[in-house]
Symmetry: C4
Subunit: 309 residues, 4 copies
């Protein structure tokens, strides 16, 4: 394994070889957050029946609808599920498992790690989430996504320690890379499958006017066009199209039809490898991945710590 | 009546039988809030002539225009009216009544129940709203919508106690269900006719830049397309298209033309049952509705309270 | 003059007779705020060269461009100008006057009247604005628009006292009406020419990310379509299309082309009377206007003060 | 050189003569901010691996992609680079230099000058930024852009003192002008190449939901249409189309294709002079530029300080 920290390339074209005949990869991921998606930031919302019911749309209506679409399309998705949801909605989670989708880690109560008091608390959350998922899946999760994509510099080392194969939370590239957990030679690493806000339905569909004002609800046709154009552009470069859905958002009737339409567009081309997080991470492990350590910024009189060079 | 709490279904397709020849139901609802729509949160706005006049657009201009459209289309709508509006704008409310529309409950001063000090205060508001409406309609309201859709866990029991047939404030499904007021066997229930923010004109048209910054005003043609597509998608599943209009928003000239256009599109199909809240609730009472109790979230060391399973 | 307070009409169709051959009226108004548009709320911005320069785009670039367009189209507009701008940009204001446009009152430093300490302060601002305009126009302004459209219940009486013919700040109707200054029989009145946020470019084009976050900049073609559709809908009812432009917003190159395009669309029809505030107010004075007093809201145990009925 | 402060012109048509055959000028500028784009306002984000990685998308992925596009199109752009980025990402900056693009000043840590404690602090930042760039470019920067476009009234004098040829931060016109550093006869000056928020990708693409809520992500095709229409309108008047890109925003796959498309549209016409900041400023120095001093606003009893007249 090459652990030399790479220099930024003059070319963004991926040198990953995708499976035979494939030019790029795509993942449909579902952040199945249930009520936890709002309770960590707004614990008072536990007493708001309307907010709790709105979040439960995901488990009661959105997830079943998305599962039907995935089944009809014959695809497998990756579900990032907080332990809380496994405890509160075990039947809904079992339907996901029974349908053959990947279940991956997403905190316990959708905790924003940047607001967690320290490493011990973070590890406790990680273990509690693993336990809750394992009770239903009977196996350890291999994938991780930080709630809200929020991550501390110490998180990758924790993920490596607990046997995770990959993380899918960072936004620095369009292609998977080897995320080093520290800057030492021979540092441990996990696979990073990058995300981007532009491909997260939260930015287009999330409506909680009293708690999160200011989001403009969008026409699903417009949103699907934005996503399909990005998929097309990433295909030309061999990147990963990594879509993040929230079932109380994209599980709505016409929006779910949009997801179905998008999947159809992705599958129209035989050149897109539509797969799960673990299969993708396992494939790229044998590839010439760029190892990269995110060196924390420090400022002093002589300037900033170097990241490249 | 089946009061066994249902498990989440793998299918979102409704098993409700709609009236002969109908594939789905639709409601046009008007939250006729007048000045109360802003006064509960911003009592200081009582001294702002501009804000009071803007809210009064509903009663002075928007409602008359919408009533003309409903009359020309030959449809009946459901008006959720705070008691305050019945007291302040009795003639405007009488025009609604005289035109044959349903008048339903919407608080007294559009109170957000999640900010009300407790059960006694909530019940007082409920009774004051009933009284104000009854003075004009000469009958008790059967329908309820929580102002801002905001509801406490104790609200459904209060509604059942005061003889309400249905509520229309929650967002967990696309089809009506039997909302249990507690988790005990044989619990009382009311009918829930679910709503959704996406079908609320507030999210697209509400402009009060100094009090509620950050909303992007939308092209009525775009908004009507979003709504019509959602209606089409819900029709395919037998759900309820439940539109929420505010007359100071959708009562504007071109937007009201959009509403007229939308109603035309809904009526183009003989398969959409366009009706009022009470007629819809009475119809579905005889149907195999899923009873559901929204079990409050509690967290302890062993995990979250279960909702399903 | 009929001073009986009108009941809300079941019909929003105007019974105003517009000049021969005209079905409706339209006003292009320019709120020429200069730096005052931001200084009242953010006095610290006086030290921000970037913000001051951005606001000055109006006087340096936007107004000249709009004046060229108005001249080429052969139309007269109504400029609402804070006294501050007359003092700071007298040459720019003189160009407006010399081109034959109406100059009307818009506060001194664009003061939000709802934040002014009381009646004496409000009257002082009014007189200071009159003086500043009169120094350049050599006549008293007849029209008034409250900065930010924000108005106190006491404002109309002040306007009547100081000889104003009309106000253009309220949003309760689409047609001019006689605005009574109090609820007594024989109360004095001025003409109200109503506005609406939807027809204010601020909601679509205003970008000051650090001071007013969250506004989405819009495609001028989309904005012009929204406005043209509203004009069309108002024409069908005989209302007033009252457009509010800010020269540092709509004075930008492509947006100004949009304004030119919109004026062209308005003039394509001989049925639109495109005029100034004073001419419009003088015309409707002889018409069967609805007198209306905005009765302040008061709440007590027996309910709200009545507005109609 | 004419240092008489100009009066506002009745015509916005530029009297600048562009190079032979050219009707207008255009600049593609890249604000290559790296992590500094967020660290000045949110120093706590240094501990948020997710935010740091998202900002690093610019240096790791966006800049290389934009450089490929610029190379294929055969154009040179102007990169405004904080000193911090030169210290942290020297290899990425060297690639910009080696490709022949202009490197210009953008603060050290992207400091908002309106929040800097005083002139001495501001000058220190300026010098630190010059030093960091000079270490890589081996020459002093001639161009400056204030981070966030935020500038103090004292900034132009500092820029003149340190040998800058031009600034590109203000929004009062569409054509370059001579920016006087004070109001005295014979005052020193630099060239101002104006910008505008409408042509800044930040307003359309920037997504940091937890730090900067409320921005609606836009369809790149819509954004490119807005920009292309503005370029067309500015061409008709001989102005400058000055586009501001952030590589973590516009460097995304489909958005970068949009930039490529826009450049293609600009180049379709032989009449657009697509150039760098220094070449543009050097050209216009010999032209009949309007000198202008932004006189600070002062208010007293007799009114506001005059800007024109």
């Amino acid at each position: 394994m090459n652990t030399e920290v790479s220099k930024p390339s003059g070319s963004a074209r991926s040198n990953i070889q995708w499976p035979a005949g494939k030019l790029c990869a795509a993942m449909i991921t579902v952040d199945m957050d249930g009520e936890s998606g709002i309770l960590f930031s707004n614990p008072e919302a536990a007493d708001h029946l309307d907010v709790m019911a709105q979040m439960a749309y995901g488990e009661r209506t959105g997830v079943p609808r998305l599962l039907r679409i995935f089944k009809q399309r014959g695809i497998r998705a990756t579900f990032f599920i907080p332990g809380f949801v496994a405890d509160r909605w075990p039947d809904a989670v079992r339907e996901v498992i029974d349908a053959g989708h990947e279940v991956a880690h997403h905190g316990y109560l959708h905790e924003y790690l940047t607001q967690v008091p320290g490493d011990a608390a973070e590890e406790q959350i990680l273990m509690r989430g693993i336990d809750a998922l394992e009770r239903l899946t009977k196996k350890r999760p291999l994938g991780y996504r930080a709630p809200g994509f929020k991550m501390r510099h110490s998180t990758p080392a924790l993920l490596a320690k607990h046997g995770f194969l990959y993380d899918s939370s960072l936004q620095d590239t369009d292609i998977p890379y080897r995320l080093l957990v520290d800057g030492e030679a021979g540092a441990r690493s996990i696979i990073e499958i990058p995300v981007q806000w532009q491909l997260d339905d939260w930015l287009y569909y999330m409506a909680l006017p009293s708690l999160r004002p200011g989001i403009a609800l969008r026409d699903p046709k417009e949103v699907v066009n934005i996503w399909a154009d990005e998929a097309q552009a990433l295909k030309a470069e061999g990147g990963v199209f990594n879509l993040t859905l929230h079932p109380f958002c994209s599980g709505r009737a016409a929006r779910a039809q949009g997801i179905d339409d998008l999947i159809g567009r992705l599958m129209d081309s035989d050149e897109v490898w539509l797969t799960t997080g673990t299969e993708l991470a396992e494939h790229v492990q044998s590839q010439p991945l760029q190892p990269f350590f995110h060196r924390p910024v420090a400022l002093n009189e002589s300037g900033a710590t170097r990241q490249d060079g």
